[in-house]
Symmetry: D2
Subunit: 346 residues, 4 copies
């Protein structure tokens, strides 16, 4: 088959790779019908993720059709149309039994395109298929479902649910990339009074409005702190979601809070941030971090089916699987191209 | 009357001060029967708390007898024996209505010995007396109750309740000063499997055992990380309570956590700490900060009355009110004297 | 002044009554600008509420203008436009300090039009004015605010918040009277997938649609159980809100639940219901009851100001204060008149 | 092998039965080293549980040794010493993924000794062995662990956790049979101020004291209502746990509550109870029901290993497996024999 293989820092190409095979009776082989690229994939290709070794097929998001299943797989079978989630779950370890699939200690967690071959390929072997794939109803299109493989549950679980957004609150979301937009979309389900999107790119702020932000701040020209204060009688936001991953955006996030606020970090960080405890120790803050567990996938599927969320809005560019080079180029230059999520389909 | 007055950085002395008077109809004048010294008072006297201006009577903890009440005070009256809490609460603002008395926006919060004259005096004017004092049953002795003015609710609310200690968990408490010990005492109520006390002073670790720690680590000679890992199959503590207030102890607190842990900061910090988000962004941490609200005071009073907590263990030294200089000296040299809480009684 | 006075079972009339006077320094005298009639008032007039004694001015909902305040009132003053809530709160007792204002043990709770003279009058004395009235911003009209005096917080707190409605859930609301409609409006804020309104009156089901129900069941001709099952793969509703108050509707509510569901009773009951524990003991049900606390009033005011809820939809009929007889007649014959809430204005 | 087989209403006998065999690759065959009798087994033998058909081997609690596992079983193997839980869990269905194993929709739930052959036998086939058995550390004795098969997690999850017992609260437990005692033991972990045990049998009240009750009421001679009121200033209990299963004990449970209390039903009911909503609709009650999920099993194992709970106290009588008739007789006449749990060992 063809696949995107990490061969050390460099440019991705759609190369020959061996077909995956069932190596464990809980595996499924899934034909990839649609896949996408995540910011993490760019980091991998840049050589920034040492746990990904050369030779690895990358990618951790897919919608596909089951080709074959191992002997112990019960709930999915050949021909089933499934979502392949970024998180695999053994279903048996203490973490999985408590719903913390992202922290799976039985061989799952984020493994696809990381320590296992991934989804940017014609076929993918999915471990623990019963607890790592989701049957798709016919009413949900491939590209709609594909957004549930990572970006939507990440924004919802790590951003919205951890920060416990409530009706009438003021929510500030720093960063209007795909995950920030997913957080905005998810926060809207709880009827906050305001969602303030903060980003230096006008194009992304325009997108943020389509996802549910009612206030936007271009922080290259305006002060998010002033905007948030003006909306909150000077107190600060009830909830802040950090979806960038830089020390300065985390530090901004802290400054935007009101006393008693919840700050959910969703951003992928490469460096420490300064936590100004000398100012914050009295302020009743709650700061959370987290990797997605994907426990919300069935719910998000239901919201998709009932048309309460529209995930097609993420898809800005569409390609064939054999156009991966172009797709990577468009995605990597998101500032110019306005790319949010690119979809590659069979 | 006599009182301890902040006159700029220097040594405290028991000086003449004007008698307090009712200036608002919600006030009470309380004769101080017992008071104590807090670490914060040392910071004030060192000139580290700029919001305390020279001329201020300091101190924010007392047990006393009501001498006089303003015309609108309903629930306490002359002759009543009361606890004067470190937190005053107007009872009417949005924060107070939600139980966040420490964040009172109606003129309360931490005001005694801060922006109002305080309790290290023969008499103190307590604002909002109905919602800032607590009637004491005869069965509770002055010095027992006095510990509920600040240290016990601080450890319990900001340390134990914010970190949601559960039966069977492993709790690490960094710092075995009075607030750390209060956190240990409070955590014990939830039957964790282990409470690990971490402090460089052997004397304090001895105290920690009396308050409920079953494991102690002298971190000047041993590695808390190794101890916690050995108790938790290498995973880390379920709960970490930081009760010191230094960048390095906060950073240690983060390192001691397991994925999914709760870290409650109780320490008073003067400098920022580094928050290693590059390691922590995936780890499902919850970090909280907070000022005590004292909403738990009625509960703690009940636990005292039923002898489920014993707050006399905090009291290491006893003085007369006119021995404040000596008391400050003993308290300031806690490393040598083994002082936890010193009580000054009429 | 004129007022509606309970004189034993019979028809209400707009009679002479003594003007209210400040009798406690925490009181306010409020001129009633707008008031309304509650189902409870009908029960009182029928003689069904023995705790209301003859001679009592009834009514517990008003918007008005402060005429005079007692000496200890701080936060409201002459000329202020305020909401007078159905729940008065002393602000000092253990219940009030925990936010359970409806269970006030200091002289508040539901007292207006019950054990104190009420709001169906030209003037009303409001006890504990600081903690029992709410300042109204100019942008909120009298009749909009008036709905927050009882019906909207009751539906929201006792129906929606106690049952913890979540995005994507199926919510069944039994009864489309004013409180049922308030529950529907409040549930919608949490983005359930379906809200099923159940009522025997078509006119009320029509109203239910305007308040946010997407499925309606006329239970005089169709089976709510079948409708709910068809929406939930045969499992039952995630949340059921009982807003009628009869044994049979409570028993229906239980039957409509899925295992693990939450059932919030909001209905005012006069008789016991059978609780079929022989069927339910294994089903992980949570059943709640409750009197409104009105802790959500500030939030609801914010939602009104941001136009996230529209409470004018409740108002079907408008009268002058001197048209009380007519208003009572229209409200009592709601089945014929389609009355939801009637507003009487100065 | 030998087993206790339900053959229609009658007396149990230790009869020949076919050896169980692996019929699904997720099965394990476990040699029963210790088992016990549950009140439910008496109901089955009396013919009161129609879902149990004649020919069924009964019993749903065991500690044993794995003899053989199906081809897909990963985490347990031949020779492992395991707890066989009363709840089997497929680990894959929506209920199991949310931790509601008792509501398993994939073929688990309470199946052993119900719809599958059970544990009162020399061998038992356990379905979904990976997610339905628990490895036992050597430090925990068979009979200690056996109590975790049903009674201890039932009292803890359905009684204590659902009712959210907190430090300083007053907890009333109606019924001092094994499950009531388990609730008492579990409640004690949260440091309530009082646990009031209510039962008509003095012997059981004596047991209740050993499990952690500090107040006992023989309700054949004294009024539980008066006792609870005297402990709570007339208000009622914060938490009531019903562990009997009769209409009158449920109705008593409701009467014992304070406003705002939580009432957890653990009792197995055969008839409806009257729920006096005419009194309770304003009282902010939370009433829960539930079947055990056994999600707390790993925690309870930890508490057993750390000696924070002592489950040997449940074991009043010990027998060999071939003495089942005698064991049933002793257990059925618990009033005379003082039997709590009887253990039958190989």
């Amino acid at each position: 088959m063809k696949a995107i293989i990490y061969r050390g820092p460099g440019t991705p190409s759609w190369d020959d790779a061996p077909d995956p095979e069932i190596t464990d009776e809980a595996d499924a082989i899934v034909r990839v019908d649609a896949t996408t690229i995540c910011g993490t994939d760019l980091h991998i290709l840049a050589g920034d993720v040492p746990s990904v070794h050369p030779g690895r097929v990358i990618g951790h998001e897919a919608v596909g059709t089951v080709e074959q299943v191992g002997s112990s797989v019960r709930t999915v079978g050949e021909g089933d149309r499934v979502l392949v989630s970024c998180i695999s779950s053994c279903g048996m370890c203490a973490s999985c039994r408590e719903g913390h699939f992202g922290q799976c200690r039985g061989g799952g967690g984020w493994v696809l395109g990381h320590t296992y071959n991934g989804t940017q390929a014609e076929f993918v072997r999915v471990p623990f298929a019963d607890t790592s794939t989701y049957q798709l109803p016919a009413a949900i299109a491939d590209e709609e479902a594909l957004m549930l493989a990572d970006v939507v549950p990440t924004g919802y679980e790590v951003g919205v649910l951890k920060s416990r957004v409530q009706p009438g609150e003021v929510v500030a979301v720093i960063g209007s990339g795909p995950v920030g937009l997913a957080a905005i979309m998810g926060a809207r389900l709880f009827s906050p009074s305001h969602i303030v999107a903060i980003d230096p790119a006008e194009r992304r702020l325009e997108a943020a409005k389509h996802f549910g932000a009612d206030v936007t701040v271009n922080d290259s020209v305006a002060s998010p702190l002033e905007v948030v204060r003006s909306l909150t009688d000077g107190r600060g936001a009830d909830v802040v979601i950090e979806a960038v991953g830089l020390p300065e955006t985390f530090e901004l996030a802290v400054r935007l809070t009101r006393p008693g606020a919840r700050l959910a970090n969703v951003g992928v960080h490469g460096k420490p941030a300064a936590f100004h405890l000398e100012d914050q120790w009295t302020r009743d803050l709650t700061v959370t971090t987290g990797l997605v567990d994907t426990y919300s996938t069935p719910l998000l599927m239901r919201l998709l089916a009932s048309r309460q969320i529209d995930t097609r809005k993420f898809v800005t560019h569409r390609f064939g699987l054999d156009e991966f080079s172009e797709a990577y180029d468009v995605f990597a230059r998101a500032g110019d191209t306005g790319a949010l999520k690119v979809v590659l389909s069979r």
